[in-house]
Symmetry: D2
Subunit: 462 residues, 4 copies
């Protein structure tokens, strides 16, 4: 008996008290859409009664005007979930709303628990019923089993039993509770709007609705907001070293945010500059791989003095339901998204800048496409170290076997993608480019294999 | 009796003979999606029988796998249409497929006829029935009225009676016919794929499907493709001076294309450089207004030496069905699309680069937003001359009254948008930045009021 | 060049002036749903501006609350259309709304024109464009071609050129016009509600909305209702003998109506009594074939004294999208609709009463099913004469070849359907059962081949 | 803490082993559609893996061809659920599929448990989480809590703790299990098709798919079907007096079935005859209230010799999404469903026959409608005794306060509905009309208040 899927990257949001809580949550999820395109949902509380609405799809498709009109009340939490092929199902969408002897509780969870399989097996043996394959449901069962009188104590009891990553918001009849695991793997920020308190995975959700960013929820902290917006803060868990996810900065977060004390965009430009400093190349043109490589490419161009042009154009209308022609069209999967600009590229020595190189297959197609558009040389530069290890704390990376850097040297990868040269930012460079935070506060397990929390063999994605 | 709406910008596509003609047309429309998000449709010909499929919506939503499966045959034309508030209706979607004594004829039309109202009134007086408010339907009625034996002669007869802009593809039981009006206002390019010949508004449609760009259809040319892909070219109309649309280059076309002998992206970068040369400013940071101002901003940064950063982040998930909160949130309309990056902007003297300034209302909001994010100074630079006149040849510009530059000086506009300075590229600069084409070949009526084709008073959008 | 499909049975409705005209029309179409399940639509006029809304599907599915909310105005006409396999398309749905030099005109038409193909070919030769394959569109083209100053004169001019069946309602900017062809093949009734005047194919549409039935529109009459509900009546056509459709009474109309001066239900009961009188049988039980045979079965039971039971139960939830199992299940097509009640039938001599026997295939399955449920004998009685000829005036009967009675004797049909006996009502019996109307007023071409209006060879469904 | 809704009438189906198990289940649900129009669902087992598919809506709308294609495997159970205003939600749809330490178990349940609230509260206190407000979920939690090694033992352990009504089918990785509560309140029949065994709430589900009815599952019996279709039968519960629901016969069941050893239709006709015998009236015409009063009306007519006509016509296209006009139209709610046939009714002394009179409001409207259609007298006859008590065992009757017969004499009711006379079948007549079963085997609590199973005060619908 095993779970279908444990890993997922997600976005969470919560607000209380605010007259249009559901509508603001909808807007917040809109801003967090890049963190999960599979499903979206929200739970709103009206006079102590919680109602859940969730569907598969993008935020704009999930919520109709009629749906939002029905989600009345002055407290709400919301969730967007990442899409991975096949195993996505409505049962796994969040928030999860349950009824227990503590009353109604809703949970929106970002992160991944490494001991969920073990706890689930034990709960099932003593009679619990699971209705999803999500690890998040384990937390709710543990809360339901707790005999603590206060809901916040039940939550603490439950979370004390799980290990791994969680940045979570809970909603009850009268409380909005935000918690971040002791390592603080995943982000969780806090803001205010009038008397309302808000939580979101990223600060861009606050910007959209003109809420004022206050601070991050700290690793190991539980913040409890009551019906009048008053705040209590607890640190109920055993203290552990902070291990914030460096990959959020490099790849996942929207650039227009503050996270872990850094400006994401400034950091990405700095990585691009460091990349140019560590790995210069004699070339004519910097071309970003859109959209993720743009900030680093700007940094690379600034540091190297080589001009930048958008030599690869992205088709912004590409959706997930694209119907492929039956006849083979070369490199079709990439072509539908990217088109090289021959007039800019032809005859040039081109430096492609991207923020990651995972399996190598896409990079290989892009290099070929750029060469066919007339580039004399194609140099690939990656604004991160080689990705050698999977993430067990909430980012849906491929298994180790699929990570090309886990088993191949940089030279071998360069030959595979058929580039003239390939280089990555060094681990040192990655950390020295930080401005407001320190190396020790970060988890870089995907680059180093240094896992802060051990995981049971059968619980981990291999 | 008047038409609801004459002006529309659109994209057209055609292919014959190709075994998966409808599927390739679908892909072509995907690449042309930026030219029209209101409706999409295609007509496919199977053994001389034409079938039409069109719907309101984006290409990805309009076509299901089942729909494409049913659209068999080895010839097809397609169309995407631009959305303008309110007046969009399925009746006005294209291609239009009709039956006349010439048999079935389908039309996909880009451009605007200036004498359509007059012709329509005359046709109605003699008993014609119109089922849409589109000017394109006039062309089909004129064809139906023609007693010419050959369909191409009937088309020539019909087009000889209209004036204005048309880049059009026709499909009949056995012919694919592409025509461009004598002034050549709107683009139309030609390609081949195996023995098939293809036409599209922009070359990016060919890139996606690996078709080989051959040349542009020339102003006043009619190209007739038979069932085996053989081509005849005619110039059946009175010769007129070429007047290609400069605004396609500046704003409308996808940057990754060749049009009118120019690389769109290279031209936009050159405009940005010219803008910097003509209108320098002592500043710390160049920030493009995404996505349209990006290429010009790169040029401005390159010429001025001032570093560029993406200080405004665009939310790519914004769709048209966005549900607004009831409570007022400041500048909401712009905020949902753009978010400033305070950490990059704070304390800086910022140059915003955009490709157009039409009513001034959006620019005003963006300037305010950037200032609130901490900019010390905000300078606006526009990579086009002031837009002073509406377009009657196929681009849906506002009426003259709404164009702020038609009645206000640059200084007045600058005060209105509350910028520290405002400057545009000069008309001379706009033309001298061209590389492969000459000023005389262009229509710049929207900047100059020099209309190549006169328009009857009641036919024109005032 | 030929039409896809000429024949269709339909329902029409019209009302003016009434504040909720579209909503009442929707209700009227609801009551007329049995006359057409393929498509439904309505045109509403608000201050002289006509708007059309039509879709494929049942009335309840076609109209949403939002759609009705948008169809404002105090005049409306509506239409439901019959579904026949394959050839149903949105283009053929009604009402048809067009713009001509007479302004906007909408038409909802019930009936079939026998010379539509000839007129269409001639219109196309002189430059008309057709956008559907419906014969009704011909009427609108003829109106558009008319130079008459008044719209009613243009309608008269147009209708004077067509021959065949039409009961039609027209809506213009200010008039509601109802017309019935000189033979009066199809029904059309008139009612009032306050100052509003209403027209409908059947009186049940009036009952639903508490409108007061006034009279039938007479054969050859045109009734013109102005904006204040005032009525003018004209008889602008050459007078012809009345030929109302007897099949409406026998089969098509809803039983709870008055039509052609008869109560449909009373007539059906009388037919059942006549059937029993003409064709008695020594039996134990009368079983109606639901739902169409119920009234006649009551009459048969009453006349014969043999008790009636509902020995065949109909599944009222059967829709048209039923998904068949792959594995063969005997008689499945009929079984999903009808189930015999073994406990009632077993050991009995059963008389099945139905209102028609067209191809014989369904009757054959029902006889077998009843026999398998234990009937000792199965006698089939049909409350109409044998159907030997197709209808060219608006009822979608099969072609002559498919009508089993056109080429087989009653004995042969009886053997084919494997009944113990088979009998029909005689033509004399059919007419002598009428109470308020006379034989001469009826068209019974489907039973006799006496066609009142000749039809051109290539125009007729063979 | 209380449940939203405990009472529901439903239909269940199960089959194993059969290659197209899901498709046959779909067909079975089609035949059982009258038992529940709110939601439909099925769980199919493919090689020991269970998959659930359920939606709100009618069977024909819930299941698409694609959905059925995906529900592979050779065992399936299905469920349709009754719609009651407001409280219907997808969470309450069935079958319910859960994962426990016994593996996957699916349940489709018809009936109502009277002690579910108490058990639920106790389970929640010890940490169980409920995801619906359905009483059926309680059964699954009790199974999950059981430590029995075999799933059938766990089911017996669970059911031994609940009291009330259940006719249920369970599906596990390899077993199909049918159970009926010791009183046998609700029906459950058994059939075979090849080697497959089938269960259904009514035998009409077997007729549709040509399965052979074997027998009813007996009160207190558990039937276990293994993967090869072999059957074991157990009687694991304490024996109790049989109390089958007489209301199924009178009202709820489809007439074309055998249930509790009776032919439903024959019983209804016998009730009609008894009604005429006990309550004769001097009248001209029997008119059934369609559809439910038809069988009794036939019996009444047969016994009394008064002719029967369908003087009230039902609109079969009425759906639940009917859009009402804003302006008041008299009796609209009933008129959209029923229309009187004036020509049959006018001047007659009419006997209306119906199978129940619950609140009296609908009967009152029908009497008025028939009188307005010209009836000289209107006599109401009900083929059941007065409904004085609510059902706690699975039929969704109104609360006692709403049952007019609970607080008013027959005379008072007669005055309220404004009939000339009103009469019911007597309790004795109701039982003496049975042919194959005896009074003692029936629950008639809704007519007598004799509840076989006591219910806790707060668990019962008041």
């Amino acid at each position: 008996m095993a779970f279908d899927k444990f890993k997922d990257e997600c976005g969470v949001f919560g607000i209380q008290p605010y007259c249009e809580a559901a509508n603001l949550t909808y807007l917040g999820l809109y801003a967090l859409q890049h963190r999960g395109q599979e499903s979206a949902g929200l739970v709103a509380a009206e006079q102590g009664r919680l109602t859940c609405y969730k569907r598969m799809g993008l935020v704009a498709d999930v919520f109709s005007e009629a749906a939002l009109r029905d989600l009345t009340g002055d407290a709400a939490i919301g969730h967007v979930r990442y899409s991975t092929a096949g195993e996505s199902r409505l049962e796994n969408a969040q928030p999860i709303l349950i009824t227990s002897h503590h009353g109604q509780i809703a949970l929106a969870h970002n992160g991944n628990l490494v001991n969920a399989v073990q706890i689930r097996e034990s709960l099932e043996r003593s009679g619990s019923i699971f209705s999803s394959t999500s690890d998040s449901e384990v937390i709710l069962h543990l809360i339901a089993r707790s005999s603590a009188a206060e809901i916040e104590d039940a939550i603490v009891e439950a979370l004390a039993q799980v290990s791994g990553a969680y940045s979570a918001v809970f909603l009850t009849a009268d409380k909005l509770i935000a918690v971040r695991d002791p390592h603080g793997f995943r982000p969780l920020a806090m803001a205010e709007l009038g008397e309302a308190k808000l939580f979101a995975s990223e600060t861009c959700a606050f910007d959209l609705i003109d809420a004022k960013f206050l601070r991050e929820v700290e690793p190991g902290e539980m913040v409890i907001v009551n019906e009048r917006g008053m705040v209590r803060s607890l640190f109920p868990f055993e203290k552990k070293p902070t291990r914030q996810c460096i990959f959020e900065h490099i790849y996942f977060a929207r650039p227009d945010g503050l996270m872990f004390g850094e400006s994401t965009q400034a950091y990405r430009e700095a990585l691009g500059m460091k990349l140019a400093e560590e790995n210069p190349v004699d070339a004519d043109l910097i071309v970003p791989v859109p959209d993720s490589g743009v900030c680093a490419a700007i940094g690379y161009s600034r540091q190297s003095g080589i001009p930048l042009s958008f030599g690869l154009i992205r088709n912004h209308y590409v959706g997930r339901t694209f119907i492929e022609p039956k006849q083979s069209i070369r490199h079709f999967g990439v072509k539908i998204k990217l088109n090289p600009v021959r007039s800019l590229i032809e005859g040039k020595r081109v430096v492609l800048v991207d923020d990651s190189l995972v399996r190598g297959t896409t990079s290989r197609k892009i290099v070929k496409m750029v060469r066919q558009a007339g580039a004399k040389e194609v140099h690939m530069r990656i604004s991160a170290p080689p990705t050698t290890h999977p993430c067990y704390y909430g980012i849906d990376t491929p298994t180790r076997n699929e990570l090309i850097a886990s088993s191949h040297s940089i030279d071998e990868i360069c030959r595979y993608i058929e580039a003239d040269s390939l280089a990555y930012v060094s681990r040192e460079g990655m950390f020295s480019s930080l401005q407001g935070s320190r190396q020790e506060q970060y988890c870089d397990a995907c680059f180093s294999g240094n896992y802060a929390v051990p995981f049971p063999k059968n619980g981990a994605p291999v």
